[in-house]
Each structure stands twice: as C-alpha cells, then as structure tokens.
C-alpha cells in the first residue's frame, strides 16, 4: 500500500533512546485481584514519546490504557521492566507531569478560580500570584465570567475546560490525557481539540492522549499506538504525517485522513472484536 508509506508509516518497535520524554521499556504489570489471583493488565509493553511529540493510544476497553498512563505518573509501579521520564527512572510523582483524568476530578468545594489555582498553591506559589495566573488561564479557556462559580454550576464542557486550565497552569513538560473529551458533544469536542493543539504547540510539551475514538487519535497525533485486547501490549505503531497546523472541523474530510483512519481501523478492529467476544465469555 503506497499510502501507508506516505502518510501512515508503520514503525517497528525499538528500544527507546535515552533522551526520550517518556520511555516505557518492556514493562509488565500485574495486579493482585481481591480473591488473591494475579491479573496481567499489560505485558511486554514498549513505548517511546520524543520531546514535543503528540502520541495517541487506542485500544479496546480494558486493555490497559489508563494503566499505562498511571505507570508514567508513578501512581503505579511496573512489576518488571522500567519506566523513564525525561531520562530519569520514575521514583516519585514528578513535577513535570500534568494529568487530565478520565473521570471528573475537580474539587467540588472550590470555585473555578480556586480549582485552577490549586496546582501553584500546592507547589508553594504565593496566593496573589497563583490567583493572578489562574485568572489568566481561566480567560484563555474562555471562562472569565465563571471564576466564582462552583463546578456543579457549570456544564460538562465547561468543567472539562476548567480541568484543562488546572493542568496547564503547572506548565507540565509531559501531558497525559485519559479520554478527556469522550463525554462531550461533537461541537464542544472539536473546539476543545483545537484549543488543545494550540496549547500544545505553544508549550512544546510531550503528550500521551488516550482515546476510544480512532478518528480523534489520527486527527491529533504524530504517532498512534494500537494496543491488543487485554492483557495489553503494543500491536502496531503508526506515524501520522498529516501537515500541521491542523483544523479539527476540516481534517475529517481530508481524503488522506480517511485513508489513514481506514488502514489503522483494519488493524484495530480485530482487537476490538476479540475484546468483545472475550468480555462475553467471561461475563464482564
């Protein structure tokens, strides 16, 4: 296939270079389930994200995508193998990392501005300065009129934007996002994707973006990781050579985009079907 070499080049997994932003090297992670068994969540997992690179991870549900992100934060430790962030082994939660959670993780008892200022305040920034920066970020995500609102007074899309501001205010060098937009409607999601790409190119951070939505992955990423049904491992890696800057509302009609999405979907489909049939067999 000519196109595959042109826009969606399939890469062969290789041992990560030492200076990568994120290097997950041959990691296996097993959970001890409540009944005392071992459950392999991911196995022989190798992944590299270069500095300034935007990587997307797609795979069937339960294949270990969230687990992978938690390995990078240090909230989870690998059973075997090692994880390096900015060249250093992950020992504790790194100050360089920002994480936008799959679930809503705002603090409901704090107003929008106090939520956004939480990061700098935790890190010891003086209060006036933290609020100043928070105000700036709230304006950038278009919520200037809602500073004093509490999360329950905002719509789902607005809460997601607060979560983005809360993460970006720490200016993370590494940005991890776990299906951040999956609960949003099409229009809001497209707008947020544009905002995200804007912020990313401005901050020059390295991103790992987990999603169920293959088209979202192709539209955003430099590199797409396709995982196998659980226990997850990397099935294939594609380099997406669509030109930047990309406009989310238009890119999905780009013939090149459609071709790439088709190629990757053929790869992913088997895993999704496998994951579903396995889910039916084991009853969950």
């Amino acid at each position: 296939m000519q196109l595959q070499s042109m826009a969606a080049e399939k890469l062969s997994p290789a041992a990560p270079p030492a200076d990568a932003a994120i290097a997950i090297d041959d990691v296996t992670l097993r959970f001890v389930t409540p009944d005392g068994h071992m459950m392999t969540a991911i196995r022989d997992f190798t992944m590299t994200v270069a500095r300034g690179e935007f990587a997307c991870v797609v795979g069937p549900t339960g294949c270990g995508k969230s687990t992978t992100l938690n390995l990078v934060t240090g909230l989870l430790r690998p059973t075997t193998g090692n994880v390096r962030v900015m060249g250093n082994p992950v020992t504790d939660i790194s100050r360089d990392i920002g994480f936008v959670f799959q679930a809503d993780a705002l603090f409901p008892w704090r107003s929008v501005i106090d939520n956004v200022a939480a990061g700098p305040l935790y890190r010891g920034t003086p209060k006036a300065e933290a609020l100043e920066r928070a105000r700036d970020w709230i304006a950038r995500v278009g919520l200037a009129r809602f500073e004093k609102h509490y999360p329950h007074q905002l719509s789902g899309g607005m809460r997601k934007r607060v979560a983005l501001a809360q993460t970006f205010i720490n200016q993370p060098k590494i940005l991890l996002m776990d299906e951040p937009f999956s609960a949003l409607d099409m229009q809001t999601r497209t707008a947020m994707q544009d905002e995200l790409l804007g912020l990313w190119s401005e901050q020059k951070s390295s991103v790992v973006f987990v999603t169920h939505d293959l088209e979202e992955a192709v539209a955003l990423a430099d590199k797409v990781y396709v995982l196998t049904a659980g226990p997850g491992t990397v099935k294939s890696v594609y380099r997406i050579d669509l030109p930047r800057p990309r406009v989310m509302a238009d890119i999905r009609y780009d013939p090149k985009f459609i071709e790439i999405a088709k190629v990757i979907w053929n790869d992913l489909r088997e895993e999704v079907q496998l994951g579903q049939s396995r889910g039916l067999q084991t009853g969950h």
Binding site: A103, D104, L106, F107, R110
Partner: protein, 291 residues
C-alpha cells in the same frame, strides 16, 4: 410593520408570563400559610384536649400533668428559682457539660476517623477494639464515671464525650474512605503533599458526613449530660428532673423536659446554619431549587 407587531407580541408574552408568575407566587404563599395554620391548629387541639382531659379527670394530672400545670411550674422556676437555685444556672450547667462533651467528643472522633481512614494498617488493627467499645451500652459507663470522677462536671462531660465520639468517628471514617480516588490522584499530581491532601481533599470531602453526624450527636451529648446528672450531681437539668421525680412532681418532670427540648432545638438550628455556611458549594436539592 412586521417589526412593530412582533414587539407587540413580545410585550404581550412578557405580560402573560408576569401574570403567571404572580399567580404561582400567590399559590406558594397560600400553601405556606396553610401549612403553618394546620401546624398551629394541631398544637392547640392537642394542648386543649390535654388540658380538658386533666380538668375532667380523664387524664390523671398527678401522673400526666397538664399544660397549665407545666406552665405554672416553668413560671415559678423562672420567677422564684428552683430548689437548687435559679433556673438559668441549671440550664447553663447542663449546656456547659453538653458543649464540652460535644466539642471534645466531636474533635476526637474526627481526628480518629481521619487517622484511621488514611491508614489501612491502623484501621485493620483497631477496628476490632472499636467494635467492642462501641457495643458496650454507653449509658452504663455513667456509673463508672461518677465513681471515678465524682459528682462534679467531669463525669458528665466524660459521659457526653463517649456518647458523641463513636458516632462522629464512624461517620468521619466512612467519609474519608469514600473520598474520591481520582480527586486524590489529581491533587497528588498537581503537587499536593500528604498533609495538603488531608487538609484540602480528605477533610472537605468527608465534611458532609461529619456534619450529618454532628446533628445527631449534639442530641447524644445532651443525653449524656442529663443522664450523668440523673445518676448523681449537685446542679443541672438532670438533677431537676430526678428531684421532681423523687417528689412525684409530674409538672416538674414535664417542665424540665420541655426546657431541654427547646435548648436542643435552638442548638440544632445553629448547627444547621453553620452547615449551610460550610457546604455552600453543594448543589441545592431539586425541591429547593424549584421553590
């Protein structure tokens, strides 16, 4: 032409909305008046039947008192004082014991709940002892405290403390355990230290559990103080009840009971105000939003 007629329609619509709103408000006011009126009516009928029953000896006022007898008793306590001294002093003593017991028990319960809630090992080790201690009928401890701490204030405060502690502890513990894991992880990644997580995530998210327990446990503190006084004291509302009981003075027992109920209601009101102030971030329940 068309523009004019459309603004006309708009003003007409505005007017009809205003009329409907006024009607809805009037309906709400009428309903509110009806509820208050019915409440008063029930109170009057109840007191009237009680008084009449006592007058015509359907109800023996010697055992069950009567509204007028209770009122006379309260009035004489207010104007002439009780056999143990002025009424306000009795109220003050009981309230002081209750408050001390409430505050110490609540703070202890919150602290223990948070420490055990945050530490799995401590929780697993101590849970068995807490279960045992909790299953002892606490009022019985009153006798122990009177023997150990004497007839003064300390024994009543101690009883109030144990009454309050376990309720608040259980709620604080549960609240800490229910704190959202994603929220805690979020705070850690944003840069919070363990202490910051406890103060800015764990305590606020356990707050609604803790406040709920404070409501009930103030009543428990009052029970502890009164029962303590009942068992042996020199001052207080509990002693007033026990003296009246010894003299077969039903009026005195009922009068003291009503004074205690009023004290409890006033404090309950204050706690509710405090709660609304502390958790103002919470969404209003749907029925309140409508009203």
């Amino acid at each position: 032409m068309t523009a004019i007629s459309s603004t006309d329609r708009a003003t007409a619509r505005e007017a009809s909305i205003a009329v409907a709103e006024a009607r809805a408000r009037a309906r709400l006011r009428r309903r509110y008046a009806l509820v208050i009126g019915l409440r008063l009516a029930i109170l009057i009928v109840f007191l009237g039947l009680w008084e009449l029953g006592a007058d015509y000896n359907f109800i023996d006022p010697f055992f069950f008192s009567s509204p007028s007898g209770i009122w006379q008793q309260i009035w004489s306590w207010v104007t002439e004082g009780t056999s143990q001294g002025p009424l306000w002093l009795q109220m003050y003593v009981t309230l002081e014991e209750t408050f001390l017991g409430f505050v110490i028990g609540a703070l202890g319960g919150i602290a223990a709940g948070i420490i055990l809630g945050r530490n799995r090992l401590l929780a697993d080790v101590f849970s068995i002892y807490i279960k045992i201690a909790n299953s002892v009928p606490r009022v019985v401890l009153g006798s122990v405290f009177i023997i150990a701490l004497g007839l003064g204030m300390a024994s009543k405060v101690a009883l109030a403390v144990v009454m309050v502690f376990f309720v608040v502890f259980a709620n604080a513990f549960q609240g800490v355990r229910e704190a959202d894991r994603a929220m805690i992880a979020n705070a850690r990644i944003l840069g919070a230290s363990p202490w910051q997580i406890t103060t800015t995530v764990i305590i606020p998210s356990a707050m609604s559990w803790i406040l709920a327990s404070l409501h009930v446990s103030f009543g428990f503190a009052l029970v502890g103080a009164v029962v303590g006084e009942f068992l042996g004291a020199k001052q207080g509302m509990g002693l007033l009840i026990s003296t009246a009981q010894g003299a077969f003075n039903a009026n005195g027992v009922f009068a003291a009971m009503i004074i205690l109920a009023v004290m409890a209601l006033v404090v309950e009101f204050i706690i509710t105000r405090f709660e609304n102030y502390v958790v103002k971030w919470r969404p209003a329940p749907f029925n309140e939003q409508g009203a």
